[in-house]
Symmetry: C2
Subunit: 437 residues, 2 copies
């Protein structure tokens, strides 16, 4: 029924994601052709080493070591970039867009770093630049926000945006154990990279958050200017105390429009244990987004992995193909017409806090600390001070949670508290996010 | 930046949803114009009574009592149908499609009943027929499946598709109380209609499920042929026993491809308490969908209400406007090229069961029932038989859960058990769904 149009596809990079894309294209080719009316053929694939053995689905005629052979191929209309990294990925993507080819990319670092330039180039050359796979691959969140929520002002966004850290925090919470041991386990199971730095220090999550800020709020905020803290400092004892207080610790990406600017930050946070986000486990990602008309929604699924990422790439590929065949403008203007912005200053953040002070078990400590909080106008919500008479004279944890306070006040209070003689270690302060209560 | 195109919109029906649409169009008009490049103007609105007072956003010049004035208006390219009901909604939607106008509808009953005819008409006349608002309005699930998952074979779909019943079951679970009292409460709060029949008997959910089956599996299955049971028979005691066994009772819509056909059914089900679906509360809806490549995803949000529904309608409106401007085919072929099918026969369903037998508290009862199960090859998983010596001779509940068994075997066993002298009431059998374990 209806006509079928043919389009050529080029792929740069043939690692596990590239291989997954080839598998899906083989699997879905008939469906795309007969039902969607689009015949997609892979014309060229750039790889690092053409002599390396490949799976049965890949003909060696298709391979080249020169990415330009893909970009300049006359029968390639859509280029898939799954090589990763900033350079030369940026150069290749720009070259493809400048020759009016559509690009589908899974490269979040590239978009977080060079988004302004790339979306502008796409717009100038009426080329598509699709990036569903760059943020939470297994969840069609880009499509949901761009096309499912245009009637809404997004009033807040909370996300578990990194699978590795969520896996580690889940194991620490459900099975106990410390960060280092569980990281090792996660590496053995393939849930963490050999060099996990970008995951555990929050960089991966904050890069995704910056892409979501462009999409949901029309703001271009350099991710390096966003508050970003990783999970390295979260200790098993904090997880236990958080649970006693009714919270679960998650690494959250948070974005909320405020009068002073867009609040955009990534850090470990205590979230109420009975919320959906607190119950997103292991390597799963989730995004809670509130639209003024649609209300709150939560989306969850696998954030990474070859197969979910390839699924997102192929969805984008089909979508770009449909737009190309229609001759339609292939980049949403709202991705280009964004406001260059700075995030709300960290000192202006207002939230409540979980504090773990390590103090000498002597009389008067609580009064000292409570006085400092009072001076800075920070109101205490709860205190846990356990009777540890057997440790008399030693160090004990003193837990406090606060009502909403300014980050600026909390920093100042913390500095004074850490300077007290009776405080024996640097204090642990973790923000509490009540989500949408 | 870029050009702006103008399109005229007609609306049939101006109840709370229609009013919400007008509000959003007023609110978002500048954004749609300047960023999305589309200027949408409401040209005509059909209402039942033009003399009724309207809110400030609606000029009386726009109103008519004749829907044909909307459909035939020369400046209307897109018709929004939010009058509800089957007739004359069907006639109006068909007339609009036949004159090549796009239709956006929130009318699930209409699509469930006349989907084949309407999608076919849309395809024939190259008109759009958008229906995001018809299934879980506050969740962009139609867009997510159609455009976010084309690379996937959907292997299962579980949904909490009705807000009224989820509200009632949540209250019964969290606060106790029986069905009738809580239904009354829900009516007072506006979560249930004055006549709640279509909600509580599962009709609303099974109509939505049939639309989802078209979208996710390419099957057109008359919803009346699907197994459909409501929540009227769920009693407080079942909710308590389910909790003791680690389950929560939800009204689920379920669709799964099986070798014998698509399994599609709506009924109360026990779901494990630690799953996300078990924790979807009150009037919220949720859909868990598994794609072979993307893996499992859960989407949740408000299913109904004026504002979420209007949000979905306006998203569809903008989407149809973009397609119309592009001159692109405005109906996805996969909605038309569907397989007319029957659901898998109920007797072939295989699942596990929760059974509550009301029996005389006399020796040998358990053996009787266990024997009948054995005869039908049904394997018992757990038994709860409480010591109730004080009720000796009276009736007591006997709870059993089973391993997977055929519905046919279970029906036969139930019939024999209910015929036993020692069984004093009709047995309660509720299916257990383990979701994706």
């Amino acid at each position: 029924m209806g006509s079928t149009e043919s389009l050529g596809v080029g792929i740069i990079g043939l690692g596990v994601v590239g291989g997954g894309i080839i598998d899906i294209l083989n699997d879905r080719r008939d469906y795309f052709k007969s039902v969607r009316g689009i015949d997609l053929t892979v014309q060229k694939i750039a790889v690092r080493d053409v002599s390396k053995p490949r799976s049965a689905g890949v003909s060696s005629d298709l391979l080249t070591q020169n990415a330009r052979d893909v970009i300049d191929h006359p029968d390639v209309q859509i280029v898939i970039e799954v090589m990763g990294g900033l350079d030369p990925a940026r150069e290749y993507v720009l070259a493809a867009l400048e020759s009016g080819k559509d690009v589908v990319t899974a490269n979040k670092a590239l978009l977080a770093e060079h988004g302004d330039e790339l979306f502008e180039a796409a717009s100038t050359h009426n080329a598509g630049l699709a990036f569903e796979a760059s943020v939470c691959g297994g969840i069609p969140i880009v499509r949901s926000i761009a096309q499912g929520l245009p009637a809404n002002h997004v009033t807040s966004l909370f996300g578990i945006l990194n699978g590795t850290t969520n896996y580690i925090l889940t194991k620490m919470t459900d099975e106990g154990g410390n960060y280092a041991d569980i990281l090792k386990q996660a590496q053995d199971l393939g849930y963490a990279e050999a060099d996990p730095t970008m995951d555990v220090d929050g960089t991966d999550a904050v890069q995704k958050l910056s892409i979501l800020c462009r999409l949901a709020f029309g703001h271009s905020i350099p991710y390096r200017k966003m508050l970003c803290e990783g999970i390295e400092q979260v200790s098993p004892i904090d997880i236990v105390f958080a649970r006693d207080l009714g919270y679960t610790i998650k690494l959250l990406g948070i974005a909320k429009p405020q009068s002073g600017g867009l609040e955009a930050r990534v850090h470990p946070a205590l979230v109420p244990t009975d919320t959906l986000l607190a119950n997103i486990k292991n390597e799963f990602n989730a995004i809670e987004i509130v639209g003024n008309a649609a209300g709150p929604q939560v989306y969850t699924g696998k954030g990474a992995g070859a197969s979910p990422t390839a699924s997102a790439v192929v969805s984008d590929l089909l979508y770009q193909a449909e737009l190309r065949i229609a001759g339609r403008q292939r980049i949403n203007r709202q991705l280009v017409d964004v406001e260059a912005a700075e995030p709300l200053a960290t000192e202006d953040i207002e939230t409540s806090y979980y504090c773990r002070f390590t103090v000498q078990d002597t009389p008067g400590v609580l009064a000292h600390i409570a006085n400092i909080f009072a001076t800075h106008n920070i109101s205490i919500a709860r205190v846990i001070q356990e009777d540890r008479s057997e440790t008399e004279g030693g160090s004990v944890p003193l837990i406090m949670t606060t009502h909403d306070a300014r980050e600026k006040s909390m920093s100042a209070a913390r500095e004074e508290i850490d300077a007290l003689d009776v405080v024996t270690e640097a204090s642990q302060i973790i923000r509490i996010e009540r989500l949408n209560d």
